[in-house]
C-alpha cells in the first residue's frame, strides 16, 4: 500500500544551556493511504512535537535535529520554507486540540474556512465562499450558509471543531494530522467527530490521530504507535495491540482504563510521573516507573524489535527472545 507519510528516525527538541534536549527521539512511523494511524501517550511524551515536526510548525527555539519526513515521497526536512508553505493547507493540514482558541475570534467563520483556498488557488471570492459552504455541509454543519456569517464565539464546541475539520479538509489534503481533536468535546460530540474522521479516511486521506485517550484510539485507528518519553515503545495493528499488549507501559495504560467487564473496584495506576526532559534516564525512559525493571534497563536503551507480524516492541524483556 502507498504510504502518504513516512517518518524516519526523526529527532526534534531544543538546545538548552549547551546541552541538547530531545523531545522526540528517533521516531519512525508510517501513515498509509486511507488509514487512520494513532499515536498514544501521556502529556509531554512528544506526540504533539512529532506532529508539529511533520507540519514544520515547531515553535522557536525547538527544531528538528535529525531524521527525515517524506510526504508522498517528497522530503520535508530541509525543504525551503516557501515550498513547505505551499504544501501546508493544501497537501497536508492539521487540526488542533482546542477548537475554542484555534479559531481567530475576530474573523467570520466563512472567511476562515475559505482562507486556505484563497492562499493556494486563484479563485474568486464567490467561488471560495461557495466551496466553503459545501465543505461545511459535508462535515455536518447545519445551515452552513448562515454559520459562515457567524463569529467563532457564536458556535458550540462541537460545531467549532467541525469548522476546524472543514478548514483542514477544504483542499482535500493527502494527510490530515489531528492533535487531540476530541479532548475538549463531550462524549456524544466526540463520537460524531470520530465518525467523521472515519468517513474522511475512507475517501483516501491518511490521518495521523494523536490522543492520550485509548478509547478514542481503539474506536478509529487501524494502527497504533505508543510513545513514551520521546520514543516509540510499541507499535502494532490496533486489534493486536489491545489483545496482546507487550510493553510494561502499554500494559499499565490498558490496566488503568479497564472496561466494564473488568472486575476490580480500584483502577490500576502506573506509579510515578513522566521523566523531565532535562533529566532523562540513561537507559529505557520508562525504567524508573517499570515494575519489571532490570539492571540493563537502567544502563542501555533497548532497540525496537519485531515480535512477529509487524508488532514492534522496545523492551529488554523481548529483545533477548527476538535475538535467540
Amino acid at each position: 500500500m502507498h504510504n502518504i507519510l513516512e517518518v524516519r528516525h526523526l529527532s526534534a527538541g531544543f538546545s538548552a544551556r549547551k546541552s541538547e534536549v530531545k523531545a522526540v527521539d528517533d521516531v519512525s512511523l508510517l501513515v498509509p493511504e486511507g488509514k487512520i494511524v494513532g499515536i498514544v501517550g501521556e502529556s509531554g511524551c512528544g506526540k504533539s512535537m512529532t506532529a508539529r515536526a511533520v507540519m514544520g510548525l515547531i515553535r522557536y527555539p525547538g527544531r528538528v535535529i535529525s531524521g527525515s519526513v517524506l510526504l508522498d515521497g517528497r522530503e520535508l526536512v530541509g525543504m525551503p520554507e516557501k515550498e513547505k508553505r505551499a504544501l501546508r493547507g493544501s497537501k497536508m493540514s492539521m487540526i488542533f486540540q482546542e477548537p475554542m482558541t484555534s479559531l481567530n475570534p475576530v474573523m467570520k467563520v466563512g472567511r476562515q474556512v475559505e482562507e486556505a483556498i484563497r492562499i493556494h488557488e486563484k479563485v474568486s471570492r464567490e467561488e471560495a465562499a461557495h466551496r466553503s459552504v459545501e465543505i461545511l455541509t459535508s462535515v455536518g454543519v447545519p445551515e452552513a450558509e448562515k454559520r459562515c456569517l457567524c463569529y467563532p464565539h457564536q458556535l458550540s464546541g462541537g460545531l467549532r471543531q467541525r469548522v476546524m475539520i472543514a478548514m483542514a479538509m477544504i483542499l482535500d489534503p493527502r494527510l490530515l494530522i489531528a492533535d487531540e481533536p476530541t479532548t475538549a468535546l463531550d462524549v456524544t460530540v466526540e463520537a460524531q467527530i470520530l465518525q467523521l474522521m472515519r468517513t474522511l479516511s475512507s475517501g483516501g486521506t491518511g490521518i495521523l490521530l494523536i490522543s492520550h485517550d485509548l478509547g478514542v484510539i481503539a474506536q478509529v485507528c487501524d494502527h497504533v504507535y505508543v510513545m513514551y518519553a520521546g520514543r516509540i515503545v510499541e507499535s502494532a495493528e490496533t486489534a493486536e495491540l489491545f489483545d496482546r499488549p507487550l510493553h510494561p507501559y502499554t500494559r499499565g495504560l490498558l490496566n488503568s482504563v479497564r472496561s466494564l467487564r473488568g472486575g476490580g473496584d480500584v483502577l490500576d495506576t502506573i506509579p510515578g510521573v513522566v521523566p523531565n526532559l532535562m533529566r532523562m534516564p540513561a537507559g529505557c525512559g520508562f525504567s524508573p516507573r517499570c515494575l519489571e525493571c532490570r539492571e540493563e534497563c537502567v544502563r542501555d536503551v533497548p532497540r525496537l524489535v519485531d515480535e512477529g507480524d509487524g508488532h514492534l516492541i522496545r523492551c529488554f524483556l523481548y529483545e533477548g527472545e527476538a535475538a535467540e
Binding site: 510548525l57 508553505r85 482558541t101 481567530n104 475570534p105 475576530v106 474573523m107 482562507e115 464565539h153 476546524m164
Partner: protein
Amino acid sequence: MLNHILRRLLQAVLVLALVALLIFLMLRVVPGNPIATMMGEHVDPAVIERMTSELGLDQPITVQFFRYILDAMKGDFGTSYSMGKPVDGLIRTAFPNTLILALCAALFAWVMGIICGTVSAVRKNSVLDRLFMGFSLLGVSVPVFMAAMMLQYVFAYHLHWLDISGVKNWKSFILPAVALGWNSAGSISRLVRSTLLEILQADYIDTARAKGRGQAGVLIFHAMRNAMLPVVTMMALQLSSLLSGAVITESIFAINGIGRLAVQAIEGRDIPLLQGTALFSTALVILGNLAADLLYGVLDPRIRKES
C-alpha cells in the same frame, strides 16, 4: 447596538453635568476675590463692589450655578474678565491650533508606535527591538518640557532647520508635535509589542500557519487585528487628551491653543474663561472615551451586543 449607544450618550451627559458642577465649586472655594485681582491693587472698594454685582458674583451660589448652566446650554460661557471677549469666541479661535497640534502629535505617535512595536515584536531581542524600545522608554520617561526644549535646542538653535516657536506655517507644528507625541508613541509601541508577542503565541496563529500563511500573512490577517483591540482604545483615549489642549507644549512653543488659554485664565483669575476651557476639555475627553468604547465594539465581535 443603538440601545447601547444611547445609554452611553446619556452617561456622557451625566458625567459632563457632574464635572461642570465640580469645576464651578472648585473655582468658588479658591481663595481671593477675582474682581480685586482683575482690577489691580489701588482701586476704590466701591468700584469693586459695583463690578461684583454687575457680574452677578454677589448672588447666592446656587443662583450663580444655575445661571451658568443655563447660559452654557445656550452656548454662552460668559465674557472673559481678562480679555473682555466672549469665552466661546476665544475657544473657537484657539481650538484650530490645538486641533492641528493634536492631530499631528497623534499621527506621529500612531505611525511610530505601531511600526516600532510591530518590528520589535517580530524581531524580538534584535538590535532594532532594543533600539525602538529604548526610544519608547525615553518617550514615556522624559517629561514633555524637557523633550520640547531639547528639540528646540537641537533642531532650531543648532541646526536652524525649524523655528524655535510661534506659528508661521505647517513646519511650525513639527517640533511641538514630536515633543507632544513622543510620549504617546512610546506607550503605544510598548503596548503593540507586548500584545503582539502574546497573540503570536495564540492557537489560531498556528491554525493560520497550518493553512499555509506565511509570516507576513499571519501578521496582517490574523495577529494585527487582534493586537489592535487594546491599542485602539489607548489611541482614542490619548487623542482626546491631546485634543483637550497641551498646556506645557503650547506654552513652550507659543502656540495659541486651548492649553495656553487655560494657563492665561489661571494667571488672570479669569473664572468664565477657566470654566469654559475646563468644560470644553472635559467634553472632549468624554467624547474620546465614548468613541473608544464604540470602536471596540466594532473591532471585537465578542463584545458586540446581540440585538
